[in-house]
């Protein structure tokens, strides 16, 4: 059994029911309410796309799930654990089961690609020796087709390659849940198709659950099991691609045109 598999088994948190359960979530900044009474669940192995206009609070939603933002009200359970009840170390532990792909990639620009991928491991896999670490990192990079870039700096790579590295970094701890914030925005159609296939490939290979924020309808169509339309801080509509695509509601139709 490879190290990857061994860690994967060791880290599996066994829960029945949804991997993410958001109930009556409220979040605002100052007087502006961004999320207002949002409730949604994500099952194991499911990919859910969040559609919504720019500024509708999609990023705020997934930042609440990873605990970067604290909800004003409501509760969030991830892998059966209530985020509000966790201390610092427990939060870190839980986060190691979640991969997060930032909209801006958020690669550490003062570190090499290898160091970028090592960063999440220095805390959570600090028992690994040098060779195991290297082996794992190269394997993860190979997954996104960029093993040769290990010793380059992020600034030397194209936008699409940076996105793939960011994806590799999100995957390096073999998370059970992946949160994607606009994974294909700003990329050309061919590269964005490559990223979408990578995402579906990962989903099939590891049976991960994911929440995907995207405006790119070809990516949505390829990756979504279910689609949520976020409007006015609430879940305005929820359904499969087929269900929503034939809707007559203007607020939904505009995304599918």
């Amino acid at each position: 059994m490879s190290i990857t598999e061994r860690y994967r088994l060791a880290q599996m948190v066994h829960t029945d029911g949804p991997v993410i359960k958001v109930s009556n979530l409220k979040k605002g900044f100052g007087t502006r309410v961004v999320l207002d009474d949002l409730s949604v669940e994500l099952s194991r192995g499911e990919s859910m796309v969040v559609l919504g206009r720019s500024g509708s609070g999609k990023s705020v939603f997934i930042k609440c799930i990873i605990g970067l933002l604290k909800p004003d009200a409501g509760s969030i359970h991830v892998l059966g654990q209530d985020l509000a009840a966790l201390d610092h170390d427990q939060t870190d532990q839980l986060r190691s089961h979640i991969g997060f792909l930032f909209q801006s990639n958020a690669l550490y620009d003062s570190m090499t690609i290898r160091e970028n991928l090592e960063f999440p491991m220095r805390r959570h896999r600090n028992t690994l020796v040098r060779e195991q670490l290297d082996e794992h990192i190269i394997k993860t990079l190979t997954n996104v087709g960029l093993a040769h870039t290990a010793d380059m700096m992020p600034a030397e790579l194209s936008g699409g390659m940076q996105k793939r590295i960011a994806l590799a970094r999100a995957l390096v701890l073999n998370p059970e849940i992946i949160l994607y914030d606009e994974p294909t925005s700003g990329l050309d159609p061919i590269t964005s198709k490559e990223i979408s296939s990578l995402m579906t490939g990962i989903q099939e290979q590891y049976n991960t659950s994911s929440i995907i924020i995207s405006h790119d309808m070809s990516c949505v169509k390829r990756t979504a099991d279910r689609i949520m339309v976020l409007l006015g801080g609430k879940c305005y509509a929820m359904g499969t691609w087929a269900e929503l695509a034939r809707s007559n509601d203007d607020n939904i139709k505009q995304f599918f045109e």
């Binding site: 930042k63 990873i66 970067l68 870190d92 986060r95 190691s96 979640i98 997060f100 930032f102 909209q103 801006s104 990639n105 958020a106 690669l107 550490y108 620009d109 003062s110 960063f119 999440p120 220095r122 805390r123 959570h124």
Partner: protein, 240 residues
């Protein structure tokens, strides 16, 4: 800002130290300002000597030149000039670096990756700045005194040995210690203000520029305020 300082002190004593990040910062912060602070120190020593000389001749005490210059350098000019240069160089680069890390979500990414970004980024930088500035100041003082020695020799004549024995006769514990102690506070102020501005930088590239700029302004001002407080305190303690 008060809360930021409080958090710094709390995280400073909190275990799980980021030793490697700290050492890396010591190297970056210390090394990058070395040449600049050394050069300005040399020039200050030389210029001060040449400027004081005519007045001392007028009073007939030109033999006191090494004493005057060394007191001025060690007590005030060395620490303050080094700190101001340090502020211009380090505070702005910390402000810009952390500001751009904030804007590009790198700080969020660290937090998500199980690393405490405050500890990794802020504590290591502030601590490094606090410890490096005193070292740089000592070095700058030494180079300034050497500059002064050359200044004395342009028109007069003295041996290096004689010059420095005059200098060390003139300098007392009460001249050196308060000056050295205040440089720790200067260093901490530069590090804290740079980190504060960068860490809390607002979104957008304009925020990064603003963070760098206001870090330099605020830390330069802080240096003079600390200097003012330091002189009052040494006065009260009777060390002057």
């Amino acid at each position: 800002m008060t809360r930021f300082i409080g958090r710094y002190l709390r995280e400073l004593v909190n275990p799980r130290y980021e030793v490697r990040a700290f050492i890396h910062q010591c190297y970056t912060i210390g090394y990058s300002s070395l040449a600049l602070i050394g050069t300005t120190g040399f020039i200050m020593g030389l210029v001060l000597t040449m400027q004081l000389r005519p007045s001392l001749i007028a009073y007939g005490v030109v033999s006191q030149l090494p004493v005057m210059v060394s007191l001025a350098i060690v007590r005030e000019i060395g620490p303050v000039i080094s700190a101001l240069i340090f502020a211009g160089k380090i505070s702005s680069s910390i402000g810009a670096e952390l500001g751009s890390m904030r804007v590009t979500e790198q700080i969020d990414a660290m937090e998500v990756s199980g690393t405490n970004p405050f500890k990794f980024l802020v504590v290591s930088r502030v601590l490094a700045a606090t410890l490096m500035l005193p070292l740089l100041t000592i070095l700058s003082d030494a180079i300034a005194l050497y500059g002064s020695y050359l200044g004395v020799n342009i028109k007069g004549h003295t041996s290096l040995q004689l010059f420095f024995s005059d200098v060390f006769d003139a300098l007392h514990y009460g001249d050196v210690m308060p000056a050295l102690i205040k440089t720790f506070f200067f260093g901490a102020a530069v590090g804290l203000i740079g980190c504060y501005k960068g860490y809390n930088s607002s979104k957008g590239t304009a925020g990064v520029g603003l963070a760098a700029n206001s870090a330099v302004v605020a830390s330069s001002l802080a240096i003079f305020i600390i200097d003012l407080l330091a002189v009052q305190i040494t006065d009260l303690l009777g060390l002057n």
